[in-house]
Symmetry: C2
Subunit: 148 residues, 2 copies
DNA sequence: CAGTATCCCTCAAGATACTG
DNA sequence: CAGTATCTTGAGGGATACTG
């Protein structure tokens, strides 16, 4: 099955994204992959997802070109699931979700995991859409140019 | 029902986001709201979603503080669904998804809707996570500090 | 037009047993 | 350990009739 068959006919990129990774587990698998997870069992324990569902989602993510399978680095006969370049480029998506969640889905002072820069320990700066010159734009300054 | 009851116990902000808006329609409703849609019928026709499902999702989004209901501006007895400030702050999430989708889910030259700045018609610059000083960081430069 | 109420159905998801 | 296969359940979602 080619990747293109996973892509629907929606002209809106957001709709295609939702169709591809807008389920209960895919984005969390990607999140764990960013966190260095590679093995079936690691994902399974981390997420608590049923094995058949995980198997299905991993396969879909591989077919979509987000993950790729490699022989296990420890010499066992098993596979590891690694982010492709295309998968890595989901980083802004995960960060945007994380930042929104941190701001709006936790009570003041409620503990939550945080994303930091390794060397300095500093938190990541808040992401915002900008113009080419770097000026921040709000949603009201934009519009979607429709095709259909 | 208070908003907090909608929030689960996950310490990961990404997980809570997925739990809240990681279904087939919520994010597309938000996308349409950014596009200026306000009325039940507008969402319904735009998405082709079943009316009961749309009703359910709109209610959830209102309860989550992402949308709010207002009396219709045209004097009819109906409601309009407007993005709250919290809902507006989902803009980076939608833009990040859109940009990833544009890059990876369309064939070369395949038509798709695009987000532009109204006044100039220019496309939005590609969003990337940065440090406080504005330097772009890759995922490998970061790590999640876990709470549990 | 803007919803609500029902009915139905598919599929995601869970649990578990099984295999290399 | 890393999956696959099977069975079951429940929720998400679609279609449609109904109401103010």
């Amino acid at each position: 099955m080619s990747t293109s068959q996973l892509i629907n006919e929606e002209p809106c990129p957001v709709a295609r994204c939702v169709d591809l990774i807008g389920d209960r587990w895919s984005l969390l698998i990607v999140r764990d992959a960013f966190d260095g997870m590679r093995r079936f069992g690691d994902f399974q324990r981390s997420l608590g997802v049923a094995r058949n569902i995980l198997s299905n989602r991993l396969r879909k993510l591989v077919e979509a070109g987000i993950l790729e399978m490699q022989d296990a680095s420890d010499g066992t006969a098993y596979q590891e699931y690694i982010l492709t370049a295309q998968g890595e480029s989901l980083f802004p998506v995960v960060v945007a979700l994380r930042q929104w969640g941190e701001q709006h889905l936790f009570k003041q002072g409620e503990y939550h995991s945080v994303l930091i820069e390794k060397l300095t320990g500093q938190p990541i700066s808040f992401m915002a859409p900008t113009m080419q010159d770097g000026s921040v734009i709000t949603s009201s300054m934009t519009e979607v140019r429709k095709i259909n």
